[in-house]
C-alpha cells in the first residue's frame, strides 16, 4: 500500500531545490538543516499519544517539537534516530531553559503493531520530553502530507514480519505549529542541537 503525499511534499522540496531555503547553523559548509523561508502552518490532524490522549495540532502549539516518523519494529534507523534525539535533548538541557517544553514526538506509521501501550514502553526508554503518537492511516496521512513525509508498508515477509519504508528526516515544528526546519539523515546530535539553539534564539 503506497501512502504518498506527493503534492505538498513537492512544495517543500521545490523550495529546497530552488534555493529559497536559507541555511542555518554556525558551521558553513557542514551539514545544515533546511529552514523554510517562512514557517508553513500545519492544519488539523487527529492522532492519539502513548497514554491514549488526543494528539492534534493544538499539542504542537506553544512549544518546539521535533517529529520523527518510524515504528517500533524498525531495528536500525529508528533506535539510531531516537538515541540521537535523546543526545540532542541532553545537549539542550545544558543551556539555560533551552530544553524547557521541547517535545520529541515519535510518530508511528505502523498503527497495527504500535498500540499506545507499545508506544508508551518505547518512548519511556528515551526519557523526559519523548512522546509516541499514532492513528489511522487517514489521520497519519493528514500529518505526513503537511510535513512532506512519505511512508509505505512493504509486503509481508515470512512470520508476519513486515517493514515500513519511511521518510528519515527529522521535522522541527515551532511554537506557532508551523513547520520550521527539516534535518535530513544521517543525523548528528551536535549539529541538530546547535542549529536548534540558533533557530530558538531567532524566533519571535
Amino acid at each position: 500500500m503506497l501512502v504518498a503525499s506527493v503534492a505538498l511534499a513537492g512544495g517543500v522540496w521545490t523550495a529546497v531545490r530552488t534555493g529559497r531555503v536559507q541555511p542555518a547553523g554556525p558551521t558553513p559548509g557542514a551539514y545544515q538543516p533546511a529552514v523554510l523561508p517562512a514557517p508553513k502552518p500545519l492544519g488539523p490532524f487527529s492522532l492519539v499519544d502513548q497514554d491514549g490522549h488526543p494528539f492534534g495540532r493544538e499539542r504542537l502549539q506553544g512549544r518546539w517539537s521535533f517529529l520523527f516518523l518510524g515504528y517500533t519494529h524498525c531495528p536500525d534507523i529508528c533506535p539510531m534516530t531516537m538515541a540521537t534525539l535523546r543526545q540532542v535533548r541532553e545537549q539542550l538541557a545544558r543551556e539555560p531553559r533551552a530544553a524547557d517544553g521541547v517535545q520529541f514526538v515519535f510518530v508511528s506509521v505502523d498503527p497495527q503493531r504500535d498500540t499506545p501501550e507499545q508506544l508508551r514502553g518505547y518512548v519511556a526508554h528515551y526519557g523526559e520530553g519523548f512522546l509516541g503518537v499514532t492513528g489511522g492511516d487517514d489521520q497519519l496521512q493528514a500529518l505526513a502530507r503537511q510535513l512532506g513525509a512519505l511512508y509505505m508498508r512493504a509486503p509481508e515477509a515470512a512470520g508476519g514480519a513486515y517493514a515500513v519504508d519511511h521518510t528519515s528526516t527529522i521535522f522541527l515544528v515551532d511554537p506557532g505549529a508551523g513547520l520550521h526546519a527539516l534535518f535530513s539523515a544521517p543525523h548528528e546530535a551536535g549539529v541538530i542541537a546547535r542549529a536548534f539553539l540558533e533557530l530558538q534564539r531567532k524566533a519571535p
Binding site: 551539514y31 519494529h73 531495528p75 536500525d76 519511556a124 512493504a154 512470520g159 517493514a163
Partner: protein, 161 residues
C-alpha cells in the same frame, strides 16, 4: 604483482584445504560486533560488525543465529531520496581481501523476537553461518547506537585493500 597474486592464490588454497580438512573457521576476521540498545518493548534489534575476508576467494555470509533471539536475518537499510527502506538480504558476499561493514544505516543483522530482556552492558552471542557450512561465533555487547556514530556522510563499507 603476478608473484603476489600467485602467492595469494596459493595461500588461499592452503587455507581452504586447512579449513576443509579440520572443519575450521572460514578465513575471515570479524571485528567490533555490537547490538544496538533499544527500548525493552522492541521486538527487533540490530546487530553490527565488520567482516574482513583474509582469503583470495569470495566468502559468503548466509545467515546467523543467537540463543537470545528466535531468529536472525541479514537486512539492509538504504536511505534514498530521504526515504529509509529496509530489505532482507539472502546472502552477503565478502569479496577476496576486502572488508564489509555492517553498520547503522546499512547492512545489519536483524535480531527478531528476543527471548530475554537486553540491557546496555549485556552481551549477545551470535553465530555467523557461512556458505560451506562453517560457523563463527562472536560476542556482541549491547550499546547505544550513538556511542559509535560515524560522522555524516562517512561510508567505510567495501574498503579496497
Amino acid at each position: 604483482m603476478t608473484i603476489r597474486l600467485a602467492l595469494l592464490v596459493v595461500g588461499a588454497a592452503v587455507l581452504g584445504i586447512a579449513a576443509d580438512a579440520l572443519g575450521a573457521d572460514p578465513p575471515v576476521r570479524v571485528e567490533d560486533p555490537w547490538v544496538a540498545d533499544a527500548p525493552p518493548v522492541a521486538r527487533v534489534r540490530a546487530g553490527y560488525l565488520t567482516i574482513e575476508n583474509l582469503s583470495g576467494s569470495e566468502q559468503v555470509l548466509l545467515g546467523a543465529q543467537s540463543p537470545l533471539f528466535d531468529r536472525v536475518e541479514i537486512h539492509r537499510t538504504e536511505v534514498r531520496d530521504g526515504i529509509a527502506r529496509m530489505t532482507a538480504v539472502e546472502r552477503l558476499p565478502i569479496p577476496p581481501g576486502q572488508k564489509v561493514a555492517l553498520e547503522p544505516g546499512g547492512y545489519h543483522l536483524m535480531l527478531l523476537e528476543p527471548r530475554a530482556p537486553l540491557t546496555p552492558g549485556g552481551v549477545v552471542p551470535i553465530t555467523l553461518e557461512w556458505a560451506g557450512g562453517q560457523r563463527v561465533e562472536v560476542q556482541a555487547p549491547v550499546r547505544s547506537p550513538t556511542d559509535s556514530q560515524a560522522p555524516p556522510g562517512h561510508d567505510h563499507s567495501h574498503h579496497q585493500h
